[in-house]
């Protein structure tokens, strides 16, 4: 289950952050997201030269904690997506396809002429779309 999703701008300013749990643990999840930012910076600035997918948007597993796994994605426009999940056996392909769909939703949201670049995304349509994508996460693998 995805518990938290964040979109962070190129100056590490939060553009969208949403947790999907009933419990009152938003702060804890935001902390994980915050920590992931450093991991992303590290990955991007010191890439492993041997890796074939050196400049791929999908950054893979950022760091596992005891209960959570954080995945990252960095767009060409230096916008970071961070996903925090409680599933401990997640397939990379699922996360990849999730980020792809999320990226499409994000692009549609920021293409709105009334959206101000660099400001938080407040669109309700975007929020609804995101929650649909979040709900469908991992379902394809089960079937």
């Amino acid at each position: 289950m995805i518990v938290c999703l964040a979109v962070v701008g190129h100056q590490n300013n939060p553009l969208y952050i949403q947790s999907f749990t009933d419990a009152d643990d938003a702060l804890k999840l935001h902390h994980i997201v915050h920590c992931s930012l450093d991991v992303i910076d590290e990955r991007v600035n010191n890439p492993k030269k041997s890796s074939p997918t050196i400049n791929e948007a999908f950054l893979g597993l950022l760091y596992p904690t005891e209960n959570y796994k954080a995945y990252g994605y960095l767009t060409n426009t230096k916008v970071k997506f961070i996903l925090v999940t409680t599933d401990l056996d997640v397939r990379d392909a699922d996360v990849r396809s999730f980020f792809r769909r999320f990226h499409t939703a994000y692009v549609d949201a920021v293409s709105n002429p009334f959206h101000i670049p660099g400001k938080k995304i407040t669109s309700k349509t975007f929020a609804e779309r995101v929650s649909t994508i979040v709900k469908s996460f991992g379902l394809s693998s089960a079937s």
Binding site: N55, T77, V110, S111
Partner: protein, 175 residues
């Protein structure tokens, strides 16, 4: 999903933007009108670059980003690539389009020599038709600048009309 936009609509819209800014809102301040039109282009470029770079790996250097503008970005916008790219390898790039679509249907009084640099205010005063054409180029200049700045490259873009409908865009990357 590919969405198409009528070309004549875009052309009319551009002409109308230029007209209303130059002779409506800021009739007496051409620099201000130019800045406003450029700003509209900036937002358009900013948003388009987000969409068109979706499926690409990240760019490693500036040249790669400029090449993207010349090839893929230009193809998406104008269904053709930039015809010639020159660079001095010190942050200046000249993108030449031999048949720029937004100037293709523009006619100019043949008695007036249609040449001039829109960056140069004295040339602008001398040559009214070049000025009018130059006004139409602030929008594409803004698009290029918006796209590049969204890719993390701060730059200044100006345009040159050499011989209609050919035109060139000069990108100067800020160090």
């Amino acid at each position: 999903m590919v969405r198409e936009v009528s070309e004549s609509c875009v052309e009319s819209l551009l002409a109308e933007i230029v007209l209303s800014y130059c002779s409506g809102f800021y009739a007496n301040k051409p620099e201000l009108a130019a800045r406003r039109i450029e700003a509209i282009g900036f937002q358009v470029g900013h948003q388009l670059s987000e969409r068109y770079t979706m499926d690409r790996p990240r760019f490693t250097d500036n040249l790669e980003a400029i090449k993207f503008i010349c090839k893929d970005f230009w193809s998406e916008l104008f269904k053709k690539q930039i015809d010639n790219l020159k660079t001095n390898h010190r942050g200046t790039f000249v993108l030449q389009d031999n048949k720029f679509r937004w100037l293709a249907h523009m006619s100019i009084d043949p008695s007036v020599q249609a040449s001039g640099n829109i960056q140069d205010p004295s040339a602008m005063a001398e040559n009214k038709s070049a000025q009018a054409t130059g006004m139409h180029l602030y929008f594409p200049c803004g698009i290029i600048r918006g796209a590049l700045s969204n890719l993390g490259i701060a730059c200044a873009v100006s345009a040159d009309i050499s011989n209609l409908p050919a035109c060139s865009f000069v990108i100067r990357i800020k160090a």
